[in-house]
Structure formats: C-alpha cells, structure tokens
Symmetry: C2
C-alpha cells in the first residue's frame, strides 16, 4: 500500500510520520538529526537511513517541511509570498525526486521594507485549519521564534515573527538578570501573569526587563518567581501587539508546555484558546496532498 510520509525537518531535530489514505498516523519516528547535525551535509543519506522502509511501497510520497528547505538545508525551496494557502504551496513544492520526495516552501510576508519569513509553521497552520474546519482566524506558534499568523479565506494573509524564546534564553542565561533568576524553577503562575500584565504598560522590553533586576534587588521577586515573571513579560509583549477583542479565539500550535503558557496569558486577556501539537503537522501535509 502506498503511503504519505510527512517529515518536519527542523534546525535541531527531525520528526516523521507515516499516514494512511485517511490521514491517520500509522507510525511516528524522530531523531536528533536537525539540519545543523547532518553528517557531511548528506541529507539524502540521513533520509534513506530513516525512511527507506516507509518509502518502499510503489507510489509512496514524502513531503518535508521546515528548515530542510532553507539555503542551509537539503535544497533551497524559495519562499512563497503571502497571501498563500495549501493550494499555492502544493503548486510550488520543490521536488528532490519528482513525484516521490518534495520540500515544502516556506512563506514570506513583506512589511514595509522589511520581509518576514517562516518555514514549517505554514504546514502546521494548514493542519490546524483542517482539524478545526476554520478558514479564518488568528494562529500562534510559540517557540524560539514565535509566529502570529492571520488566516482569511483559507490562506495566510500575513504574519509576524517574535524572537520570544530566544530572548528568554539570552536574558535568563547570559544577562545580568541571570544572577538573580532560577531558570530551572517550575512555572509560578502568579508571577507569570504579573509579568504579562506589566508588559501591557507599553514601556517596552528594554525597560520592563530591567524591572526583573530591580524587583530582585528589593526582595520583591525570588529567583524562581523571576524566571516566571520574565517569561510573562516576554509573552505579554507579544500579546500587547495582537488584536485581541474580548472573546477572540486563538489557535495555538506547539509543545504542550508552551501552548499552556500562552493559554494562561491569553485567558487573562479574555481570549479563548484551542491548542494542537504534532498532529497539526501531519494534517497539514495531508492538506497539501489532497
């Protein structure tokens, strides 16, 4: 039986799934072989070692999303400009082996004279659209570089990247804040939400981040609380910049620990959140093959 193989090949790791005709996941696989960890740049070799069994049935097709399609990846699949949906991307697949293995292009969005880009998240958005039946809405994909995307008429009409996860790592590990912050502490919800609220003052991250230091100096935040407060400041800074009228639904896609934080912050703003994980990727690849 020919199968559809979905692979999300990112910077530091790789995940794949074998889907049946109805799009159900038959088997999953993951490896720490992100594009930065591919020995000798032998993408074809890594691919074969992981997926040749799955690809054996005649007619099997594999679609690969994520950084594997970047300049540093297997082969460059040029960005497709917004607005774009599954149809546009299906037409622009970048075939490694025609009819068998393709890279899914990322999306670009021009904002004034500055572009924005995503690779891999577009497939997750398409998947969440299928899983929810939504042809329009606001989607957030938290992570190292979080994405907020607006969907209308079944297409992504625009998006913004926020370096939230990366800033959290830099500030909690390498800045002066690291001295009075316990990055390994469990989430303190009250401190987290206090940070979300603080970000709403609109005075910006450069200023509000220093407040973590000052609150620590004055004994008003413990090291464990400081980590949660900083996380709240950063996520709150993202939220401050979104249109979130009361009751707005937001679709969150990502690791459960992260989407739970966003749900907490968005809940405080009166938004409703539905969350999805890896299933959004598999459903998105399926959407590209309809």
């Amino acid at each position: 039986m020919p199968h559809l193989i979905a692979v999300d090949w990112g910077t530091s790791s790789l995940r794949g799934a074998r889907l049946d005709e109805a799009g159900r996941v038959l088997e999953e696989k993951s490896a720490p072989l992100g594009i930065l960890n591919v020995p000798n740049g032998d993408f074809a070799g890594v691919f074969a070692s992981l997926f040749s069994d799955w690809m054996k049935p005649a007619g099997s097709v594999c679609l690969i999303s994520g950084m594997a399609g970047s300049r540093q990846g297997w082969s460059e699949a040029p960005y497709v400009a917004c607005p774009a949906g599954p149809d546009e991307l299906a037409r622009r697949l970048h075939w490694i082996e025609p009819g068998r293995i393709a890279l899914v292009p990322g999306l670009s969005d021009e904002q004034g004279d500055v572009p924005d880009v995503m690779r891999g998240e577009e497939v997750q958005i398409f998947g969440a659209m299928r899983l929810t039946g939504l042809g329009e809405g606001l989607f957030v994909l938290p992570g190292t570089h979080s994405k907020w995307a607006t969907v209308q008429g079944g297409r992504v009409i625009g998006f913004r990247t926020y370096m939230t996860g990366e800033f959290y790592g830099l500030l909690s590990q390498h800045s002066i804040l690291a001295r009075t912050l316990d990055a390994d502490a469990a989430l303190d919800e009250a401190a987290f939400l206090r940070g979300v609220t603080r970000a709403g003052n609109g005075e910006g991250l450069l200023h509000n981040a220093f407040g973590v230091r000052a609150l620590g100096l004055f004994g008003r935040l413990s090291p464990a609380q400081s980590a949660s407060y900083l996380s709240g400041l950063l996520i709150g800074e993202e939220l401050r910049l979104q249109e979130l009228p009361m009751g707005r639904e937001v679709i969150a896609i990502g690791a459960a620990a992260l989407t739970a934080r966003y749900a907490l912050a968005l809940g405080q703003r009166g938004a409703r959140v539905r969350s999805f994980g890896a299933e959004a990727t598999w459903a998105g690849v399926r959407a590209l093959r309809r």
Copy 2:
C-alpha cells in the same frame, strides 16, 4: 591645600579626579579596578593605593559615586527615592570615614509596583545641571543600562532604565543575528537611521529584531550594515518611549562614541542635543559639596 576628590567607582572600572576650590580638575586617574575586580573585597586597600597621596592634605574630602555604594560594593548606601536633587543626596551621604570619605547614594523611582534604580548617573545629571545652568530638562545617559531622567525644580523627579547596551551585546554576539552581523564594523549612518525609523513602527523589539535576520537572508543588509541597523533599532526603541516634541533639548552624558549615536538618532527626531563626558561627574561631586 585641602582638595575635593571625586571618584566614580563602577562595576568594571574606576575613575578619580582631584579638584581645586573652584572645581577645576587638577589631575585625573583611572584603573581597571571596578567593584567586581577588587582583590579580596579590600576596597579600603584599593582606595588607599590609588588616592592616599591626594588625601594627604588635612581637610581633604572624597566623595565616591557608582556601584561602590551597592550591596556588592564597599558598603551599602541605601537608595534615595525620587524626587531628589543635590541637597537631598548631600544630606544622605554614607560616610566611610566621617568628614573624609563618603559614598553617594543612588536614586530609586517607584513605577506602579516596580522600582527602578540608578547609581552614579545621578551625580552626572547634577553635574550637567550645573554645567548647563538647567534646573529642568530631559537627560539621557547611554550605556549598558541607559537612563532617561526628567529634572524639574533642580531635582530628578523620575527616570527609566533601558537595557539597551546589554541587549546589543547579547543580540550581536549570542543570538541568531550574530551569524550575519559584523559587530566590529564602523557605524553605517544610513543603516543606523533606518533602524531608528523602523523602531518607530511600534511593533516592538521582539519582532523588529527578527527583521535583521530576514533582511540579511534576502541580501538587503550586509553584515556591517546589520550591526548599525540593530543599534538603530535599539536606540530607536528607547526614543519611541520618550516625549520628544519638535525642538526639545536633550542633555546626553557619556562616552563620546555613544552620545554621538544618540545625537544622530535624536537629530532625526528633531531634538537638539548637548553632550557631556567625565566633566559632568566632577561637576556633580562639586555640586554635592557646595
């Protein structure tokens, strides 16, 4: 002849000046002996080795500003709350040797439920007030942690800290932006001002910083230009948050290379800038001894 000795004892270095009765600088001295580099925490020993000659004349007095008055310094001189001017601080000097050696307290400013703090900059502000004759105005002290202070009636009525210099270091050396950025390149004024303008979109640093990456990917910013553009984004983010009606005068105090960047950015916003360096510190210590 008794002298007034002014010392600015910071985190990584220390500068001192011997002043005559009129406040003129007779001699200056500096050393890489910031509070983090004091052997065995022997502040008295370091002080004696550097300044015992200057302190010999009977009646000599030394005032020390900066981090030497912090909890990690020689002795903790508690913050004085805003509004505060030279009179308030002169009354709250923290004497190490009564009548001879004192630490100048820093300032604190409560903003909602979050405090802000400075140590050392307050003396520079008092000095610039003397040098300009201004009893009110807007003062900026660029650096690792930049300060913007508002002066009215000869007192600092409030201030904000921005982690601008520290963010620049983190982003240009440790973030994904470092891969396509030449941190050692000379200032590219056009790229710098483009960053200042971009920050004015109000979409926040988490988003605008990612634009450095995207512009690089699309070949629209060279590594050298990226460093200047990022610097402009950060300083522009500070400026976005200040009240700067056309023609507003801003007093900038700090290293010439930094105040020049702020003058460039502020000039684009229609502000007038007067800049001061170390002389502001010496004049400020003098203001505390009147």
